[in-house]
């Protein structure tokens, strides 16, 4: 026991003086960070199980047991419905987020770079941003109808503003000296953008993208709660109407997992980008 504990510490000095502290913290417990982060979810799961299965404080309608939710999930998985709901929701979020983020990047770049465009358009964009995005729903349903399009548009609206705001304000604050140096060496327009301005705003753009993605999920649920025949938001309303609290909880857990998963993927991209650009 003592041997296994001592050996890593004994090996350190050979590696050079600068690193031991960094190494020690990393060696503490393998995957220590993950373990600590898992404590609260496991406790919550235990509590959930305790108040449903063991003490029976809540009825199955109020709060079904964890196993019931799992069973509901397996049931939906076997019938193929689960895949359908998750698939369509994911598709809507990705398309809507893609469109919204692309437009946000484009318009944010335009307004961030051109003071004429900024003066011309910023008041208008600001006014649109002031409208709570869900207020567009009735108009969208009226104009576009209850199809995929209206949902994707709503999600795109949700994703657009955080991305737009992030890149717009970041571009306005790019180090003017670097920009001038770029210009002095013959860069202008799109080449200046690609060489100096965009790389300089990469960190803010990614925080904008992550906010936009979170908004996209938010607006997905809103869109599907209002009018949909499939998707996780539809699963929520349908389960509520049928008293299937187990499925309702399943939908919530799935939304949490999917949201976290897509955010993590974006986070990986962000770390990669920051390594290159920051």
């Amino acid at each position: 026991m003592t041997d296994t504990l001592d050996s890593p510490t004994a090996a350190q000095p050979a590696d050079g003086a600068a690193r031991p502290t960094e190494r020690r913290t990393r060696r503490g417990v393998p995957g220590g960070g993950l373990l600590i982060g898992a404590i609260v979810p496991v406790l919550l799961l235990g509590l959930w199980w305790l108040v449903t299965e063991v003490t029976g404080t809540f009825t199955a309608i109020q709060l079904p047991a964890p196993q019931a939710v799992l069973t509901a999930g397996i049931g939906l998985f076997e019938s193929g419905d689960l895949f359908e709901h998750v698939g369509i929701s994911l598709q809507r979020v990705l398309i809507g987020f893609g469109i919204g983020a692309a437009l946000g990047l484009a318009l944010g770049s335009l307004l961030g770079l051109s003071s004429i465009a900024d003066k011309l358009l910023n008041p208008t964009v600001g006014a649109f941003r002031a409208v709570p995005s869900l207020a567009w729903v009735p108009l969208l349903l009226l104009w576009v109808g209850i199809g995929e399009d209206s949902k994707v548009i709503l999600i795109a609206i949700g994703a657009f503003f955080p991305v737009f705001t992030a890149i717009h304000s970041a571009l306005r604050h790019v180090d003017a000296q670097l920009v001038e140096a770029g210009r002095a060496f013959g860069f202008h327009g799109i080449r200046l953008l690609g060489t100096v301005q965009l790389p300089a705003v990469v960190p803010s753009v990614f925080s904008g993208l992550r906010l936009g993605l979170a908004q996209a999920w938010l607006f997905l649920v809103a869109a599907e709660l209002l009018a949909a025949a499939e998707g996780l938001g539809f699963l929520l309303t349908e389960s509520q109407n049928n008293g299937r609290t187990d499925r309702l909880l399943l939908a919530i857990v799935l939304l949490a997992l999917l949201g976290k998963l897509t955010d993590t993927l974006l986070g990986v991209l962000e770390r990669k980008a920051l390594k290159t650009w920051a």
Partner: protein
């Protein structure tokens, strides 16, 4: 208006060999590389150049001819428009009055016949030193030609072994050398330096001055150097332009103009302690409004 010093061309041709052993930096530079034949040094002609910001006149009536290959130091108290003049020559600022001709034709916006070395290195933090220097390359160059030229320049400024590092991984002096290399990458006819060594420590500054002399000896390019350091001006320049109020003018108008224009005698590198330079130093200090006896 005032003709260039007769020593001008001789001084511009000061040999690299004599500076080569002056410091570690210039010892790295190989005189046989970057042949000066590839550089065309251009002349600059200023006629009645002035600049006002709003109702405040900063510069007025600056008329001056700068010969190809000359090193002109621009001195003046802070805020007197030294940088403004330099930026006007480089086309970084276009709001000036009067006329600025480079090689006989007017200065364009961000004129590509010039290149600027700023007071701050202004390197892109996300690019390697090599890639930063290559920002200064002319568009007409092929990729391999460009790479070759950057390699050459990095060797010239003694950074060839730091090429792959990021700006934050090198010292301030090295960053300033990279910035110089970037400015030279387009082989400018006129090199504009805006207090390029102002932020460096005294020892590094001396080494950088030697490097600049060395680069000038090899490229022969015309250099306009803004500085607030009288000794730096005397060490590097063929002529020193002192901006300020004209001492002859009994009722000077607002804004700085040519207060003095002095030819600096002697070939570079000059003895920093020579009596001739001491006299000039005294004159420049008094022109700057500083009593030279207290120095």
């Amino acid at each position: 208006m005032i003709s260039p010093a007769s020593t001008l061309n001789g001084a511009a041709a000061a040999t690299a060999a004599s500076t080569a052993d002056a410091s570690n930096i210039s010892a790295v530079a190989a005189p046989e590389r970057g042949g000066r034949a590839q550089y065309t040094s251009l002349d600059v002609k200023l006629s009645g150049v002035g600049r006002a910001f709003g109702s405040r006149t900063v510069l007025r009536d600056v008329s001056l001819q700068i010969a190809p290959g000359e090193v002109l130091a621009i001195l003046g108290s802070s805020g007197c428009g030294k940088s403004t003049l330099l930026r006007a020559v480089g086309g970084l600022d276009t709001g000036n009055t009067g006329e600025i001709l480079i090689n006989g034709s007017p200065v364009q916006r961000y004129d590509e016949r010039t290149a600027v070395g700023f007071q701050e290195p202004r390197l892109l933090p996300w690019r390697s030193i090599h890639k930063n220097v290559s920002l200064g390359l002319p568009r007409t160059l092929s990729k391999s030609e460009g790479r070759e030229r950057v390699d050459e320049l990095l060797e010239l400024v003694g950074l060839h072994d730091r090429a792959s590092l990021r700006p934050r991984e090198i010292s301030g002096g090295m960053a300033q050398r990279a910035s110089l290399a970037r400015a030279l990458a387009r082989r400018p006819g006129v090199l504009l330096l805006d207090e390029p060594f102002g932020a460096l420590d005294a020892l590094t500054r001396l080494k950088m001055q030697d490097l600049l002399l060395d680069l000038h000896a090899q490229t022969g390019t015309t250099v306009l150097l803004v500085t607030h350091d009288v000794d730096e001006a005397l060490q590097l320049a063929d002529r020193v332009l002192l901006l300020g109020q004209d001492p002859e003018d009994p009722d000077p108008a607002e804004g700085a103009t040519i207060a003095r224009l002095l030819s600096v005698p002697g070939e570079r590198p000059r003895d920093r302690a020579s009596a001739e330079l001491a006299a000039l130093r005294g004159e420049l200090f008094s022109g700057l409004g500083v009593d030279s006896h207290s120095h």
